[in-house]
Symmetry: C2
Subunit: 167 residues, 2 copies
């Protein structure tokens, strides 16, 4: 089973696809950053991002796409472009029949580093450890996407068992 | 030639398609609001919006999509969902080979009502007059989309003549 995490953005959109097998540690099969050129028109950049996200979804057919729920942004311009990128990714996932799950930044830190107040570097080191990498993923957007995907891997079984117990 | 304006939003996305002919007043051939259910999951709502925008672009093949550039939002949640909706619409337009042009709220008011400080109702009344309607378009999101499309109709010839004079 594959789980995809993305850290949405228009200039840099982090992505990570994890292979998840019962009884084995999650393994990153794709990890990186989709970039679009700052000088290009926004609609072209969004279209490019749409095509790259679609290609990743087509290649791995992940069961779920995990996305960070943005609760705060320094300014409206950033919130708008994060919104544009996340909207594109979510619609593509929905079109591909892939579940979309949103996690708050605190849920991601809690799941990956054990506490919601964990710093960026602490989260990156934990991502490195959990995925058995020789160094923390670079750039940071790729590490963030990996953390979001790992958060889903940690949380999803719990959510499913809660659903079962509620039946 | 057709020009489409949209006032992006996830719950209510205003749209207006104008038919523009040399020497004749612009005529609204489609005017309304695309709605998605507040209770549905966001990815499904985005996918629905994507399909409806795609259908409008397919039906009219407008030469341009005019979108309001959002400069300020009361809160990040609103900015995010406006960003998500505008991202979807812009990528669809780019995929359809349709020009995308953004206008600031002040440009829209200036073009439609003659001054950038015009109030909502003044703009709505001008939209009614310019399109020869018996009442201002309702809901307000449809009127806003019409104002954005009218702004493009007013501005585009000027922009093109500036481009020509720069050659």
């Amino acid at each position: 089973m594959f789980v995809m995490g993305i850290d949405p953005g228009l200039s840099r959109c982090g992505y990570c696809v994890l292979e998840v097998r019962r009884g084995a540690a999650a393994r990153a099969v794709a990890l990186g950053v989709l970039r679009t050129a700052v000088g290009d028109p926004v609609p072209q950049r969004l279209l490019e991002l749409q095509r790259e996200v679609r290609a990743l979804l087509g290649e791995f057919t992940p069961q779920a796409l995990a996305v960070e729920r943005v609760l705060f942004q320094a300014n409206v311009r950033t919130a708008m472009s994060v919104g544009q990128a996340s909207g594109i990714a979510m619609a593509e996932a929905a079109a591909a029949g892939c579940d979309v799950v949103e996690y708050s930044p605190n849920q991601v830190k809690e799941a990956v580093a054990g506490h919601g107040a964990a710093g960026k570097e602490e989260v990156q080191r934990m991502v490195q450890t959990l995925l058995g990498l020789t160094a923390p993923p670079r750039p940071a957007d790729a590490a963030d996407a990996a953390a979001i995907a790992l958060c889903h891997v940690a949380m999803a079984p719990m959510a499913m068992s809660v659903q079962r117990s509620l039946r």
